[in-house]
């Protein structure tokens, strides 16, 4: 069948989600009605980064009216097996985690006991009355210290605090360096941040008749969560239904599976009562996964024209105190090491990648994973090449990029770029921001009206829609890769479409309906999307790593295609025409070219469901639904160019983003409005990460800013108006041609902002190789630079 022009895909369709959310009628996990008699949990958190638990006295807590139970780590160990992230990768050391610490605590915020009470206020009161005696032990906190001899050990199973060590080298790497005219070396250090969704996490477990259990959770991964809960608590998977309410932002943070979820289910089983837990902000900042605590030591072999002949990278990531489900503690490590070459045609490459254990909050998947930091490194190197050789930084990038004519291209670590627009997107971004004009106007000292002004680029590839081979390549053997869809034409002709995904603000009810309506050939208004319910939706890998358009869209296109064929077969039979002469279009099944001679979906559906006197074609089955899965290739590669123009105040060091341009290529766009929204939100997060956000630890392992008064998120006054354009290079490797867009904003913004500040301060001989660039840091660097003689 020939492809029909899209009717809805590509259109700016306003969101279906908005009306109820704007009225305050969105039902988030804490808004769900809890059954009478629900137990409310409060966790007792360790105040120490590393300590032995000597004793736990719950008498005072239990004496409080309304307290039902206080459970220790030993109590919980009888109910939940130790959690083990099953990564199979050479150089990875496995270790377990008790859902409540039993003998030893390994980070500030790790739970040492849980209180169950009749009301949440009482549960919190009781948690404060639990007396825990600790023997404090020395802690290892900083990534740089973790593998030094004589440091405290985080786990017996992880000697030398080395969770993971991996190496890779192309055969010609040493020769590339031996023959190079220049070698550029730099060390890049990235501060630790978190996703910090506005809604903290929460869950509600409700026992049903028999051994049934309904589990509501603010998760991005309902199917993976259900399997893990069954595996570790003993609740039969088939009698466990995970339901995802509205989720108030995820950003990867809610794609991990956390101890509190296991505790909730286990206690609902134990007490045969509903059990609810709602996280507070301090717990969110202390216990949700952290990310980006990375160090890159990079050297590039370069010829006189600025061409990179070879690249060596030593990648260190701080994995924190435990490996977390489902990604473990190596996701950032392997990500940074494998993605760093980006859009560049670097053919000689070597890396050493290490994840270390420390007494800090576990690391995990936060929007962009290691891409903001590995591009901070490679894009920082591109700028240094330009400064060393006296070239323009944009020109150095353009010389090193894989040209569109060379696509498909398989990069040095084996990742295929099927289509893209590396050169075109950078050139277009340069034109939009008048890059040449800015450079021409920029004075040598960069100083205009008391501010240092600079411009910074990030050109990058963006991993999205990872399939099973992509996860296997990184040792993640229990991450499936595929997602699934079911498309069902109901007897009345309306369409219900079920997908394995679960949204946290992405607008799936709208965008997936666009995909289904086009793939099936029906009216958009007739399609309703169902997701976030494991009892209704088919299995899948779920919603993180810019997956949903690629994997959910692909699954829906395949499933809807089957249903459309069935509509044609039954319709042709009813119309007494041959199937080849019948098309499905605009909600009708009709003779090609004769829309008037046809049937409504309802008329065909009534035949399919045996609700009229017509008969089905010979051999045709009842019903009008089908399902399919879609497992994309290794990865689906999007790309973009970001350019930031900044002003750095010479006195107080404050950075103002004066202009911000993005040219993004996510292949075929489903809904441009939603794509732009993803980019805008991501850029704001990247600006926050580049300029203000950081989880600050002291040497004893205390996190010093576990509140939103001290962990600064960007506000409306900190971000610019974004200027966004698109290039569409549809993927030729994926069903539908879609590529992901969920992470590109943050990935590009971190390096672009850092490079712009570096450019602004370049004549002061200030080396920008760290983030965040807080005003206090920049003001000091500027003051010191100005005091230097010469």
């Amino acid at each position: 069948m020939s492809a029909r022009p899209a009717r809805y895909v590509g259109q700016e369709i306003l969101r279906r989600e908005d009306d109820y959310l704007l009225r305050g009628e969105g039902r988030f996990v804490d808004d769900l009605p809890a059954p009478i008699g629900t137990l409310h949990l409060a966790f007792v958190l360790s105040p120490h980064a590393h300590a032995r638990i000597l004793s736990l006295d719950a008498d005072a807590a239990l004496a409080l009216e309304g307290v039902v139970a206080v459970l220790s780590g030993a109590d919980m160990a009888a109910l939940v097996k130790p959690i083990v992230a099953e990564i199979e990768f050479p150089g990875y050391r496995r270790h377990g985690r008790q859902v409540i610490a039993k003998d030893e605590v390994r980070f500030v915020g790790e739970a040492v006991a849980v209180v169950a009470a009749e009301c949440p206020y009482v549960a919190q009161d009781a948690a404060e009355l639990v007396e825990v005696a600790y023997q404090q032990l020395p802690a290892v906190v900083r990534l740089e210290d973790a593998t030094r001899p004589g440091q405290p050990q985080v786990h017996d199973e992880v000697p030398g605090n080395l969770y993971f060590e991996g190496r890779f080298a192309t055969p010609g790497i040493d020769a590339a360096f031996a023959g190079a005219a220049h070698v550029i070396r730099e060390r890049f250090r990235s501060g630790r941040v978190g996703g910090v969704p506005l809604e903290p996490r929460g869950c509600l477990a409700v026992p049903e008749h028999g051994d049934g259990m309904v589990f509501h959770s603010s998760t991005q991964v309902p199917h993976l969560l259900r399997t893990a809960l069954a595996q570790y608590t003993g609740q039969p998977e088939s009698s466990l239904r995970v339901l995802v309410p509205e989720v108030g932002g995820g950003f990867g943070t809610k794609a991990q599976i956390y101890p509190e979820e296991f505790v909730c289910v286990a206690l609902a089983r134990r007490f045969r009562r509903a059990v609810k837990w709602i996280q507070d902000r301090r717990e969110e900042l202390l216990t949700d996964i952290h990310a980006r605590d990375h160090l890159y030591e990079v050297e590039a072999a370069v010829d006189d024209t600025g061409l990179v002949l070879g690249l060596r990278a030593s990648v260190w990531t701080n994995g924190g105190a435990y490996s977390t489900l489902p990604f473990g503690c190596t996701l950032e490590t392997t990500g940074g090491a494998r993605m760093i070459v980006g859009p560049y045609g670097i053919t000689q490459y070597a890396y050493e990648a290490r994840a270390v254990a420390t007494h800090t909050t576990p690391a995990g998947a936060y929007r962009g994973v290691a891409q903001p930091t590995c591009y901070m490194a490679i894009e920082g190197v591109m700028d240094r090449i330009a400064r060393r050789l006296g070239l323009d930084p944009a020109e150095v990038r353009l010389r090193n990029m894989v040209p569109t004519a060379s696509l498909p291209w398989t990069n040095v670590v084996g990742v295929r770029y099927d289509t893209g627009s590396f050169v075109e997107s950078l050139r277009q971004a340069m034109a939009m921001i008048d890059y040449a004009g800015f450079r021409a106007r920029q004075p040598a000292d960069r100083l205009v009206d008391g501010k240092y002004r600079g411009i910074g680029i990030c050109s990058f590839t963006e991993v999205s829609g990872t399939g099973a081979p992509g996860w296997r390549a990184r040792g993640l053997v229990r991450l499936p890769g595929f997602d699934s869809g079911i498309v069902k034409v109901e007897p009345t002709g309306k369409v219900t479409a079920f997908v394995s995904h679960a949204h946290s603000g992405q607008g799936h009810y709208t965008t997936f309906a666009q995909v289904v309506a086009d793939a099936l050939g029906c009216e958009l208004a007739d399609v309703r999307i169902v997701e976030g319910d494991t009892a209704a939706t088919p299995y899948g890998t779920n919603t993180f790593a810019s997956r949903s358009a690629v994997t959910g869209g692909g699954a829906f296109i395949r499933a809807a295609g089957k249903v459309r064929e069935k509509l044609r077969r039954i319709g042709a039979h009813m119309l007494e025409a041959s199937v080849e002469d019948v098309v499905v279009q605009d909600g009708r099944v009709h003779i090609a070219g004769v829309p008037g001679h046809g049937l409504s979906f309802q008329q065909v559906a009534e035949t399919a469901y045996a609700m009229n006197t017509a008969t089905l074609p010979e051999g045709e089955s009842f019903g009008l639904e089908d399902s399919d899965f879609y497992d994309p290739p290794l990865v689906t590669m999007a790309n973009a160019a970001h350019i930031a123009q900044v002003a750095v105040d010479a006195e107080d060091g404050r950075v103002t983003i004066e202009r911000y341009v993005v040219v993004h290529d996510c292949g075929r766009i489903i809904n441009p409005m939603i794509v732009d929204g993803q980019i805008q939100g991501g850029v704001a997060q990247g600006i926050g990460e580049a300029l203000m956000e950081e989880m600050v630890y002291d040497d004893s392992g205390q996190m010093l800013n576990a509140s939103l008064l001290e962990y600064l998120l960007p506000t409306a006054a900190d971000v610019p108006n974004y200027e966004i354009a698109h290039i569409e290079s549809p993927s030729i490797d994926t069903v539908g041609g879609f590529k992901g867009v969920g992470e590109g904003g943050v990935i590009g913004a971190v390096p672009a902002v850092l490079n712009a500040v570096a450019d602004a301060l370049s004549r002061l001989d200030i080396n920008i190789n760290t983030k965040p660039l807080r005003p206090s840091l920049l003001a000091r660097l500027i003051r010191e630079a100005r005091a230097r003689p010469g």
Binding site: D19, L198, A684, T715, V719, G745
Partner: protein
């Protein structure tokens, strides 16, 4: 538990009498005693603005107010903004049309802040809008579309039409 304090206050134009614990927060009263769950809790420290309501016509952090101290107060929450189940308020319409919300968790707070801003300044500059919006944190949208929505809502309200 202990002593309880009697207060009378008006919530969304309806008079309410309540016997409350001295420590009961306004946001918990609204959410868990009145079932007005559109007011969200994001930080319980007054930093994020997700719990913003109008208290005697001015924005207030409902996570920082004790109900016991609000005798005689007038409270307005997001549930009292739309004129009917079929229609949205011009501010809500503008948020919808400008794609000014994603997950929607912070959105009720932004709607309340916008109500206050436009009541006091029907034609705010972009700078004034951004300054007013620093009252609230959003982690999804990057704010640009919220700024557009507030601008559009101001225009619609001035012209007496829908945004």
């Amino acid at each position: 538990m202990g002593e309880r304090i009697e207060v009378t206050l008006t919530v969304n134009q309806r008079k309410r009498r309540a016997q409350v614990e001295p420590r009961l927060l306004l946001v918990d009263y609204l959410r868990h005693e009145l079932g007005l769950k559109g007011t969200h809790v994001g930080c319980e420290q007054g930093a994020c603005g997700a719990c913003t309501v109008l208290l005697d016509g001015r924005t207030a952090r409902s996570c920082l107010h004790f109900v016991a101290a609000l005798d005689g107060a007038q409270i307005r929450t997001v549930e009292d903004v739309a004129p009917s189940p079929e229609l949205l308020h011009p501010i809500q319409q503008a948020f919808h049309r400008q794609h000014a919300l994603q997950c929607g968790y912070c959105t009720p707070g932004f709607v309340m802040t916008t109500l206050e801003l436009l009541a006091g300044n029907p034609d705010p500059s972009q700078t004034a809008i951004r300054r007013a919006l620093t009252n609230n944190l959003c982690r999804c949208t990057g704010y640009a579309n919220i700024v557009k929505a507030v601008t559009a809502a101001g225009k619609a309200l001035r012209e007496g039409s829908q945004a």
